[in-house]
Amino acid sequence: MLRILLIIQLFIIFGAHSQNDFDNALKKANEKNFQQAILSFEKIAESNPENSAVYYNLGNCYYHIRRYGDAIWAYEKVLKQHPLDNEVIMNLELCYKKLGSNHAWQPHLSGMQQLIIAVGSNTWAYLAFFLSLIFAFCLFYVLKKDTGWRRPLLLLGGGMLVLLIISIACAFASYDQSNKSYFAIITKSEAPVFLNDKGLKSTFKLAQGIKVAIIEQKASNYLVQLENGRTLLVNSKHIRLI
């Protein structure tokens, strides 16, 4: 019992501490001390990667010091959890405008995928629990045999099973999207591109803010794919995984 109380206490202390850190970082940002605020927000993001407000503010701070690539990365991190956040999308478009890019922000997920992620894996999981309860109820009464509702119960149970499978798939898709990095943002202006692992540079360079799909990591480089399907090697220093 004492141990449980201690754990609860530690949680409260930790929670209060992280709230304190957040407030301090926010204060620095409001004082236009953006670099210090960025350092603080980055630290909070490391310990609490689920808090989208941290990434949002990080994006704003990066924006103010004109590091638009990093700002785009931070906003994309928010969209990973809340793909339908219009404020973030507007900020992203502002970043691309500042970069002088004709490239308008495009979501890398379809509308349906965005909706699945926006609902969140926990909500999908709760829905799956509810559906499994209805399915279990139908299963029980069908197996019990002495019921005159066998046929409607079979139909209801079948429907619930299909919905259950769909909600499990959605829960995992949402979980997968928010926990794995499939995309990255080029954060350096004119990031060099390599032709091989030995460091042979291409004359082609990637502009800041470009979103690339991650194929695989090769030592200190990432093999990435551009929107046009071209694959390239980029140094891990020049990109940030979403």
Binding site: G15, Q19, D23, L26, A29, N30, K32, Q35, Q36, I38, L39, E42, E50, N51, S52, A53, V54, Y56, N57, N60, Y63, I65, R66, Q81, E87, V88, M90, N91, L94, K97, K98, G120, S121, N122, A125, Y126, A128, F129, S132, F135, A136, F137, L139, F140, Y141, V142, L143, K144, K145, L164, I168, A171, F172, S174, Y175, S178, N179, K198, G199, K201
Partner: protein, 573 residues
């Protein structure tokens, strides 16, 4: 004979000159750190192939030397020849290691040396000031340092860093480079040529020529105050196919906070800056919008400058945020170039208007002072425009409308509800929550379905048990009837008991009336062997003979009971 004696004398003299074989192994230093070079020397008075037992953590170095030396033994006056084999290397783990023995193979004979132990401590890379080399570093075949342009800088001031390698051998290339790291430094920029090639130079340190090269040049802009440690870089230095792992020393930089008396027009600039102001046009009419450009040039932290605030008098309105144009490159002095801020301003009054000078302060790290830059002031002659109507906005303020505002949406407060966004899927709760109701329903449903069958089976088993007991009782009654000489009752009880016993064994429905016809029919249906059927028939005949013959012998009765039990026992075998 004389010849033989001469041979013996010669041989004896040679034997007296021959030396006792000596193989000695030595390791220097006896205590070292991980990655620090140690030298293993094998000294022997015999020449042959040298082989040394080395621990698995031993990493062979470049320096391998062999040679010979002659010494005079002053006791005997003899000249002794010693052969040397020395090699250097490093140990990659901490602990006590035994080096050796060394083996010298000469012909068919192998000579073994002593062993030597060496204590390896964990690596300690003390911070090293520029161009100060420790004795430990100078003992190494190669070492690395982090070169810094300054030991102490002001926050925001550019600091030039690069990795520098010193090597006793001429390296051809390097691999597995892990860059030096600075915690809490956000603003880092690579400068110089590609990091993939090394340009080797020569440098003399304490009368030793070292091959040196610089690598991974960066300009960083630390913020905050206090001491920051630059963590060492690591690399694999190669000469052809031979490689040497190398970890550099760390470096410490002191960051000084900017003086507290910052002027109001300080925009965060640290370096050496200049200010230039220009207007897009000189001919104005009331209501015209012109562009005021502020160009801040020079070197320092140009990339981190905040936009200067314009304090305009009445008659001017600023539209939105300034457009920022950056034109600088990162070099040894930080960001070198210019940043231009274009403000769009509307003239709202007519007549002779004065546009006051714009001031901007920056911190000069060399003279350690804030310096204020002032632009020239402009005088504007604005023509009257009777069609112009002033918008309902405070004069001199900034108009932020949807078109011109380039500010992102405001900062957000913490949302603690979002913590552990995916905790269900990531834990076992998910599968448990899903499978538990389904499993319970499955087990419960099947159990409910089987419940009557189980109950029926249970009652049948109970009935069977009762029937068995009844049969046993019948046998007992038959025995008591026999004792009372009531032969008629004895036979009828015995037959009933026998039939019931067979009925139990053959699983005949116990509700049915059990008689000989039913039993025989069941035996035929269950394909009982002919011998068993005959045995049962014979038993019935004996029973009938006993019951109706009236002359039975006592022994036959007991035999009949015994045979009835025996038949029942073996009926299903």
């Amino acid at each position: 004979m004389k010849l033989l004696l001469a041979h013996i004398v010669c041989l004896l003299s040679l034997l007296s000159w021959a030396q006792k074989p000596l193989v000695y192994l030595e390791v220097e230093p006896k205590e070292a750190e991980i990655g620090e070079a140690i030298t293993i020397t094998v000294k022997a008075n015999i020449q042959g192939d040298v082989d040394i037992d080395l621990p698995a953590a031993y990493v062979s170095g470049y320096n391998t030397m062999s040679g010979m030396e002659q010494e005079i033994d002053y006791n005997t006056g003899k000249v002794i020849t010693y052969f040397y084999h020395s090699q250097s290397g490093t140990l990659s783990k901490a602990g006590n290691f035994t080096i050796g023995p060394a083996y010298i193979k000469k012909g068919n004979k192998v000579y073994k040396s002593n062993t030597a132990s060496v204590q390896i401590k964990k690596e300690y890379t003390p911070p090293v000031a520029n161009h100060e080399f420790t004795s430990k570093q100078l003992r190494q075949p190669a070492f690395g340092i982090i070169e810094t342009s300054k030991q102490s800088i002001y926050e925001g001031e550019p600091l030039l860093l690069n990795a520098k390698v010193y090597s006793l051998f001429s390296p051809t290339h390097l691999e597995n480079y892990q860059e030096y790291t600075l915690e809490d430094v956000l603003d880092k920029h690579d400068i110089g040529a590609s990091n993939q090639r090394i340009m080797v130079d020569e440098e003399n340190i304490r009368r030793t020529t070292y091959f040196t090269f610089e690598y991974d040049k960066k300009v960083v802009f630390p913020i905050g105050k206090g001491k920051i440690t630059i963590e060492p870089f690591k690399l694999l230095l190669l000469r052809g196919f031979e490689s040497l792992p190398l970890t550099s020393s760390s470096a410490v930089i002191e960051i000084k906070a900017l003086p507290g008396n910052a002027p109001k027009d300080f925009t965060g600039g640290v370096g050496n800056l200049k200010l230039k102001r220009s207007l897009s046009n000189n001919d104005f009419k009331q209501g015209d919008v012109f562009t005021l450009s502020l160009e801040i040039s020079g070197n320092g932290n140009l990339q981190n400058l905040l936009e200067p605030k314009l304090n305009l008098p009445q008659g001017f309105l600023i539209y939105g945020d300034p457009e920022i144009k950056e034109d600088f490159v990162f070099g040894a002095l930080g960001a070198e170039g210019k940043v231009t801020y274009d403000y769009h301003i509307q003239v709202t009054q007519h007549g002779k208007l004065e546009l006051p000078a714009t001031t901007l302060s920056y911190f000069h790290p060399q003279i350690e002072k804030y310096i204020q830059l002032t632009s020239e002031q402009d005088e504007l002659i604005v023509g009257k425009n009777s069609n112009f109507q002033l918008a309902q906005t405070k004069v001199g303020s900034t108009i932020n409308n949807a078109v011109s505002s380039d500010q992102p949406a405001p900062l957000r407060a913490a949302n603690n509800d979002e913590e552990n966004h995916d905790f269900i899927i990531g834990s076992g709760i998910f599968w448990f929550g899903l499978s538990a109701p389904i499993l319970i329903a499955l087990i419960g449903g099947i159990w409910m379905r089987k419940k009557p069958e189980i109950a029926h089976k249970k009652s049948k088993n109970q009935q069977k048990e009762t029937f068995k007991k009844e049969t046993e009782l019948l046998f007992e009654i038959a025995k008591s009837k026999l004792e009372n000489q009531e032969f008629g009752d004895f036979y009828s009880m015995l037959e009933k008991a026998f039939l019931q016993s067979i009925a139990i064994k053959m699983n005949v429905p116990l509700e049915a009336t059990i008689n000989r016809q039913l039993i025989m029919k069941t035996l035929y249906e269950k394909n009982l062997s002919e011998s068993k059927k005959i045995e049962i028939k014979q038993w019935f005949e004996k029973c009938d003979a006993g019951r109706f013959g009236l002359g039975s012998i006592e022994n036959n009765h007991l035999e009949l009971i015994a045979s009835s039990k025996l038949i029942c026992q073996n009926i299903d075998k």
